[in-house]
């Protein structure tokens, strides 16, 4: 019995520390500036910005791990719901980012404008800013950490969110022009609508979460 409790406690702390390390490490990796050797406006610089986005997606997944640790520590907390909403928000934002960043460089203004909108909304969701689903995901993660009496971890998570502003500002400062095909444009429009609508009306996401977790 003691061994089982010890193993559970170990797992909880492993998840919490793993999530925190993943969050901090990914945010720091994303916040690192572009190497001096890389020229501004070059393909290498664009790749550096894209890798910042990828790191913040990993940080987003780490927030879900923190929520799972919170629900294991305090089963009454909203951790499971937080983890599912945060995972959903991160996957949606990642999909939007991948679709928007995926095109080849272009001077086509209408295509680049849609791609820029997609990248912008994806970043907004990853930063947990309204009106996106990411806002509700982050909010639920913080709430579940507070419910699990992990105030310090919630503070660390909030600091990680603030740190993610650095790569976001860099990525949004000079959005690369991307060529967007018709099918890609439809996909971007659908994903942007999904991220924003679920952000403005979060009940749909919460109902799906309740179905998935069996808590409804």
């Amino acid at each position: 019995m003691n061994d089982a409790a010890g193993a559970t406690s170990f797992l909880i702390w492993a998840l919490a520390i793993g999530g925190a390390v993943g969050m901090v490490g990914a945010t720091v990796a994303a916040a690192r500036g572009r190497p001096d050797s890389v020229e501004e406006g070059s393909d290498a610089e664009a790749a550096s910005r894209d890798s910042g986005f990828a790191w913040i997606v990993i940080a987003g997944l780490s927030y879900a791990i923190l929520a799972l640790a919170a629900v294991m520590r305090s089963p009454d907390s909203d951790g499971l719901r937080a983890a599912v909403v945060q995972l959903g928000a991160t996957f949606l934002a990642a999909a939007l980012g991948v679709v928007s960043l995926g095109g080849s460089s272009s001077d086509d203004r209408s295509g680049s404008r849609l791609a820029s909108l997609g990248i912008f909304v994806a970043w907004l969701s990853l930063l947990g800013l309204p009106p996106t689903l990411g806002f509700h995901g982050k909010l639920l993660v913080y709430q579940s950490l507070f419910q699990a009496d992990w105030g310090w971890l919630a503070v660390a998570a909030m600091a990680g969110t603030a740190g993610a502003l650095v790569p976001a500002f860099r990525a949004l400062a000079a959005p690369a022009r991307r060529d967007v095909t018709k099918s890609r444009a439809i996909l971007i429009a659908l994903l942007v609508s999904a991220v924003a609508l679920l952000g403005v009306y979060p009940q749909t996401a919460l109902s799906v979460t309740a179905l998935l977790t069996g808590s409804g």
Binding site: Q147, A154, L165, F169, Y201, P202
Partner: protein
């Protein structure tokens, strides 16, 4: 409450109007490009801003139509189903929120007229839409009766203003977003603590639920809320973004400079003396007082050293935020000093009116003469007389000169401080006022001095003049309506400042 009830429809319109208008401002000019030729499109250039001005006018009318009910102490509530079991879209129109909305719409009208009058500007429709969306978020935040919704709307307003300022100067916009978002996260920490302690986020029930909690457990949440609101109030030490915005994006800086402090101030009044019953937390008050004094003096000294009119306006805004914090700290410390609470409430519209005159006057001078550096602006009284008058009215109101809106605030503040035998604090405020007055007179003396101008006057749009004139009329209107404003501040402070009746005066 049924949706067919006329007042509820009115409240719905108040909430949705700006977002409708933002959509129209964004879409219609794009459609017009396909229908009209270039010359006609140029003639329609100011259309989006005039649509914004019309919306602001309608919003003002709607807010006024709600005021009789709100002043009777019978606030109108609307509770939408947003999330079934987490938090709700709760709105409540009471004396504070309705007056804040009315103030906001007049500020909106001034801002739209000012922007309509600026020389050629790219993305006009986009700017009008973003400004309208920010106005809508601030209006909804003033009407909000739920902690999470309040946080959502304040952050959304910051995002809209970030996008607006970003059109002119990215670093200044990023600085504003970073400061406001970090402050927002600190504020969220307080909200989550309150949520955990009370189990609910409704401002109507929160005071009663918190009443059972130990004051020591309330202290961190109130401190986090106070510290988190500093950047939005532009109060020291969270004020750095405002002078940067004034320097980097002078044409659009007035939008965040007017909207964010109003939203932050309304939230401060709503939460700290109201929902969180700051009177129960004496240990928090020295912090508010110290931050307020620091901000007041830092603002006054930097305003004295300012070389540009917008910089002067930015530092005067910082000093006014400091004054609000002093009223909060000194008022609640004195075991419910009614004058101090009324001074804090009255400070919101009075400071908004004074600062609106100051910002729009300085911005209009910059638009007319192409510079805002005081040394280059000699003889401005001849070229931009209305803007100079706006500067004078706004500046003098901020330092509490009689017959202007700020005077009523300072009168109540000094009366309460002398009543509390805190003469040293009254002297400190009077000293800062004196320094601000010297800074203002020095700046005005230079810009009206004959023959020292190096700036060449440009054509001035009548819309710009209309915006400046409206700001002056607003300030004078508040001064003329001082008795009504005083009654209103009494209603707000008596009904415990909020949707949440104060647990100090009303037991559950």
């Amino acid at each position: 409450m049924g949706l067919t009830q006329p007042d509820t429809v009115v409240l719905n319109w108040l909430l949705l109007l700006p977002f409708f208008a933002a959509l129209c401002a964004e879409l219609f000019p794009r459609l017009a490009l396909h229908v009209h030729d270039e010359k006609e499109v140029e003639a329609l250039r100011r259309g989006p801003f005039l649509l914004g001005a019309l919306t602001a006018l309608m919003g003002f009318g709607i807010a006024l139509s709600l005021s009789p009910q709100a002043l009777r102490g019978a606030p109108l509530t609307v509770d939408y189903w947003w999330t079934r079991d987490l938090y709700h879209l709760r709105f409540q129109a009471d004396a504070l929120s309705v007056a804040m909305c009315a103030t906001l719409w007049v500020l909106g009208l001034v801002m739209h007229l000012y922007l309509a009058g600026l020389p050629a500007m790219s993305d006009v429709h986009h700017r009008a839409a973003l400004l309208l969306a920010a106005q809508g978020c601030v209006a909804a935040a003033c009407l909000s009766a739920d902690l999470v919704l309040l946080f959502f709307l304040l952050e959304l307003a910051v995002v809209c203003l970030w996008l607006l300022v970003r059109l002119d100067h990215q670093p200044a916009a990023n600085g504003m977003l970073a400061a406001a978002h970090v402050g927002g996260l600190v504020f969220l920490g307080g909200v989550l603590l309150a949520w955990g302690r009370a189990g609910d986020t409704s401002l109507a029930t929160l005071p009663f639920l918190l009443l059972a909690a130990e004051p020591s457990s309330l202290r961190p949440m109130a401190a986090l809320v106070l510290l988190g609101l500093l950047p939005k109030l532009a109060a020291a030490p969270g004020h750095g973004w405002l002078p940067d915005a004034a320097r980097g994006a002078p044409a659009t800086a007035l939008a965040p400079a007017l909207l964010l402090p109003l939203a932050g101030g309304a939230t401060l009044v709503r939460l700290l003396p109201g929902a969180f019953a700051v009177g129960l937390l004496p240990s928090l008050l020295p912090l508010a007082l110290a931050l307020g004094l620091f901000g007041l003096w830092a603002g006054a000294v930097r305003a004295w050293l300012a070389k540009g009119l917008l910089e002067l306006a930015a530092w005067l805004t910082v000093s006014q935020a400091g004054l609000a914090l002093i009223a909060l700290g000194a008022g609640a410390a004195a075991e419910r000093s009614p004058e101090m609470t009324r001074a804090l409430v009255l400070h919101l519209p009075a400071a908004a009116a004074g600062l609106c005159c100051l910002w729009v006057g300085a911005s209009a001078i910059r638009a007319r003469l192409g510079t805002e550096v005081v040394h280059d602006l000699g003889d401005s009284l001849k070229t931009a007389p209305l803007a100079v008058i706006a500067l004078l009215v706004g500046g003098l109101s901020c330092v509490g000169v009689p017959l202007l809106p700020g005077y009523q605030v300072q009168r109540l503040l000094f009366a309460a401080l002398i009543g509390q035998e805190r003469v040293w604090l009254a002297v400190a405020i009077a000293g800062a006022d004196l320094l601000l007055l010297v800074a203002l007179i020095d700046a005005l003396r230079r810009i009206v001095a004959a023959g020292s101008s190096t700036a060449r006057a440009r054509w001035q749009s009548p819309w710009l003049s209309a915006g400046v004139a409206l700001a002056v009329i607003m300030a004078i209107g508040i001064s003329v309506g001082a008795p009504a404003m005083s009654d209103w501040s009494e209603v707000v402070s008596r009904s415990a400042i909020s949707v949440s009746r104060n647990p100090l005066s009303v037991s559950p």
